[in-house]
Each structure stands twice: as structure tokens, then as C-alpha cells.
């Protein structure tokens, strides 16, 4: 049986791992290559690196990080952040990443998804969606630019469009829950997971082991991503997996 994946996420800025609460107030949480090896040993099923460097130098540093991680890890990893063109995808994938994650650039120019999928195959292309509930519009809206900019896109429709263009996976972050540790956005995750044919990674809100259980059972997520609770050792990948196994979920 296909197992539910647990994915630690490392936000990388200028070569170092940091993590914000609701996308601001960054704190340094360590060296990406060391952390990657640590999570691999703990049984992480996959890793995601989000490059949040603002500078060109930061981006170049990321390529080095990807090369080092690829030389250490025997599990898949995805790199997102600052990927705006096919040339960016080539650079990151050739440095050894297994997948790239597109966010703002895909919203601004959806054909980028198709270009990537045609060149590398859908399995390499993750589309990341930052979602926030809009009370007035009574729907989830897509945000870009690290959650700073609202768009006129609705989340479910965008997820479907991304998949039709060739996205092999959706990385869905609930901005309402991100950094709050009060649980994943179950309704949102379920709605997207049922709307698309590809795997959905739920992100934002992980605070304890029960939250992972709920997002897999009620939220119908295929994978769950978390950062702070793993980085600050509030729980470990191992503990979460042992708990989920005990609840009868398929876990590696």
C-alpha cells in the first residue's frame, strides 16, 4: 500500500535554514545539509527546500546547497522559491533536486508549468499554492509573493488548471494556519485533494501528532509537510510516524 509521506520543510535564506511564523519574523534554525541528513536518518520520506533568498548571490548559494544535499541524501527532495523560468528549473534539477516547486511564477505565467512538464515530465513539477480564506468572497483565494499579494484566483480552480497544465503534485499551504500550530486546514485540503487527480501535500499548521492523523484521514492528504515542530524538536519525524502507524495508517 502506498504510504502517507511526512515531509520536513526547510526554508533556506542565503544558505541557512530559517522559519517564520505566518511568513514573517524569521529565526535561524541551522545548516541545511546537516538538517537534511538528520531528517533522512529519522525516516523523513522526502524533503522540501524553499529558497527565500532575496539576492542573486543567495540563489547561487542555493545551487551549492542542492549539490551537497544530493550528495548526502538517498531520499527525494524538492526545491522551490525563485524559480521563474525553464532555465531556473534546469539549474536546480541538474544540481540534483528531484522536483521543483513553482508558485508565484506559475500564477503570473501558467504556461511555465507546461514548459517544465514537457521538458522534465510532470513528476518533476510541483505547483505550490498559498491559500487564504476570504470571508467576503466565501472562497479560498490564491496568494503570491510569499503570501504578500492577493490574486483574483480561486484555489480549487487554480489547482485544477495547474494539473491540467502538467503539475505532478500540489503543495497546498494554508496561510490562515501557517505557524499557528493549531492543525492543518482540513476542509481546504480535502476540497483540493478531491478536486485533483495528483497527490496533494498539506502544509501549514502542524502542531502535534494528532494533526497529522486528521489531515490524512479527514483531509485526504497524500503527504504532510511541517517545519518548526521538527526544527525546534517539539516532536520528531520518528515519533509522528510511530504514532500514525499505531493508528493504522500506512506509514513507511
Amino acid at each position: 500500500m502506498l504510504t502517507k509521506r511526512i515531509i520536513p520543510c526547510l526554508d533556506v535564506k542565503e544558505g541557512r535554514v530559517v522559519k517564520g511564523v505566518q511568513f514573517v519574523d524569521l529565526r535561524d534554525a541551522g545548516d541545511p545539509v546537516e538538517l537534511a541528513a538528520f531528517y533522512d536518518e529519522q525516516g523523513a520520506d522526502e524533503l522540501v527546500f524553499l529558497d527565500i533568498s532575496a539576492s542573486h548571490e543567495g540563489r547561487e548559494t542555493m545551487v551549492d546547497v542542492v549539490e551537497q544535499v544530493a550528495g548526502t541524501l538517498a531520499i527525494p527532495f524538492t526545491v522551490g522559491g525563485g524559480i521563474n523560468a525553464l532555465s531556473d528549473m534546469k539549474r536546480i534539477l541538474r544540481a540534483g533536486a528531484d522536483k521543483v516547486s513553482l508558485n508565484t511564477a506559475a500564477v503570473l505565467r501558467p504556461e511555465l508549468i507546461k514548459e517544465g512538464a514537457d521538458f522534465f515530465g510532470s513528476q518533476c513539477i510541483v505547483v505550490a499554492i498559498d491559500a487564504k480564506w476570504d470571508e467576503a468572497l466565501d472562497s479560498w483565494r490564491v496568494y503570491t509573493h510569499g503570501g504578500r499579494k492577493a490574486t483574483d484566483r480561486e484555489v480549487i480552480a487554480w489547482a485544477k488548471e495547474a494539473v491540467s497544465l502538467g503539475a505532478g503534485e500540489i503543495l497546498l499551504t494554508s496561510m490562515d494556519e501557517d505557524g499557528e500550530k493549531s492543525g492543518f486546514a482540513i476542509e481546504l485540503t480535502k476540497a483540493v485533494s478531491e478536486a485533483v487527480s495528483v497527490p496533494v501535500i498539506a502544509s501549514g499548521g502542524a502542531g502535534n501528532q494528532e494533526h497529522f492523523e486528521t489531515v490524512f484521514t479527514d483531509g485526504k492528504a497524500d503527504a504532510a509537510l511541517a517545519a518548526s515542530i521538527f526544527h525546534y524538536k517539539e516532536t520528531s519525524v520518528e515519533e509522528v510516524k510511530t504514532y500514525l502507524r499505531g493508528k493504522g495508517l500506512p506509514i513507511r
Binding site: T3, A70, G96, Q123, G168, A223, R252
Partner: protein
């Protein structure tokens, strides 16, 4: 010496890095003449079957790989590199493959489960004594694919997994030709052990 066949289809870096972690120094080439100097060859690859065959043919590597296998030399196909070893694929219209192994590559049934089959799935061993499974646990390995092999000859099945109501060949082998549908280089200890068994093989079936 291990040669990695470069035919423009995908991530050679991860396979190279995995072999380096095992203490080997593989070389990557798209030229049959250079590749013929290797002791063992790996045919990796991600992407579509049709493109993969076209790229092999454009470099004359289809003929070379077939001859290599017919000479009984060790070959490991990975992911698309495994599918290409079979007779044909339905992906983007029927395309002929290398026909070193019997079977067709077909798409997962729609609506049963998510496609691609992406993530860690459990192996079931069919030939516990095959050399590729030496000291390998019947654990989980990392799959990413939308098409899978259907074979009429179950003798090539070394290990399978279950997905979308189908029995999915995960490890196949016939003589010196071995292949995995999953990515051993991305499958932690289980996958790395299989890669190690390929590069350190003594040939054929292991003696218990």
C-alpha cells in the same frame, strides 16, 4: 567500471551520486564506443517512453544496448530505463521498445487512485533468492510513474508492489538484464542495497 547511459532523459546526477556514496566512480556517456568499455551499464531516465526511444535511436544506443544485453553483460534499467527494456508502450501512442523483456507498458486505470503513482510503496518479493535482493529487506521504495509494465511471463518478476488495483512489477530480471520501476538511488537503505548488489554482482542467482 560502471557506465551511465546519457540519452538526454533525466536525472543522471542522482544515480551518479548514489554510486559515489557506494565508493564507485561511474562515468556518464552518450557514445556507444565509450560505453562499450564499461563492465556494467545503467540505463536511468525519467520522461516519456516515446521521447526516450527516439533519443536512444538518435544516438544509435538502441542497437548498442540490445547487443550489450544479448552478449550477457550486466545492465540495470531504472524507471523509464526499465520500461524501455520491454516490447512496447501505450504512452503517447504505441511505441516499440528494446524488446529485451516480454511485456507492454500500460497506463494506470483512471479514477481508482491518484496518478502518478508517487511515493513510498511496499515491496513483495517473488524471487527471494535473486542476487539483487541479497540482504535487502522487504521494505518500502520510492516510485514515481504513471505507466506500468504488464508482462505475460511472470518469470521475470523479482518483486512487485500493489497500486490502483494492479500488481505492479517493481523489480524485474532476465539473465544479465535487471531493472527497477522505482528509484533505488532515492529509496534509502533498501534501494541503496539493491544498487550495491548490482554493482557487486557475481552473476545470476545467489547460492544460499
Amino acid at each position: 567500471m560502471i557506465g551511465i547511459i546519457d540519452y538526454g532523459m533525466g536525472n543522471l546526477h542522482s544515480v551518479t551520486k548514489a554510486l559515489e556514496r557506494l565508493g564507485h566512480v561511474p562515468f556518464v556517456s552518450e557514445h556507444a564506443e565509450e560505453l562499450s568499455k564499461a563492465d556494467q551499464l545503467i540505463l536511468p531516465g525519467v520522461g516519456s517512453f516515446k521521447d526516450g526511444m527516439a533519443e536512444l535511436e538518435a544516438r544509435g544506443l538502441d542497437v548498442f544496448v540490445k547487443q550489450w544485453a544479448e552478449d550477457g553483460k550486466p545492465l540495470l534499467g531504472i524507471c523509464l530505463g526499465m520500461q524501455l527494456l520491454f516490447d512496447e508502450s501505450q504512452e503517447n501512442g504505441l511505441t516499440k521498445g528494446l524488446a529485451l523483456l516480454p511485456g507492454s507498458v500500460v497506463k494506470f486505470q483512471e479514477g481508482v487512485a491518484k496518478v502518478p503513482h508517487m511515493g513510498w510503496n511496499q515491496l513483495s518479493f517473488r524471487q527471494k533468492t535473486h542476487e539483487i535482493l541479497k540482504d535487502v529487506k522487504e521494505g518500502h521504495v520510492y516510485f514515481v510513474h504513471s505507466y506500468f509494465v504488464q508482462t505475460k511471463n511472470d518469470e521475470v518478476l523479482v518483486a512487485t508492489t500493489d497500486y490502483a488495483d494492479a500488481v505492479v512489477p517493481a523489480v524485474v530480471a532476465k539473465d544479465s538484464v535487471w531493472a527497477t520501476q522505482f528509484h533505488p538511488e532515492k529509496s534509502s537503505g533498501v534501494g541503496m542495497s539493491m544498487l550495491k548488489n548490482f554493482v557487486e554482482q557475481k552473476g545470476g542467482v545467489r547460492v544460499e
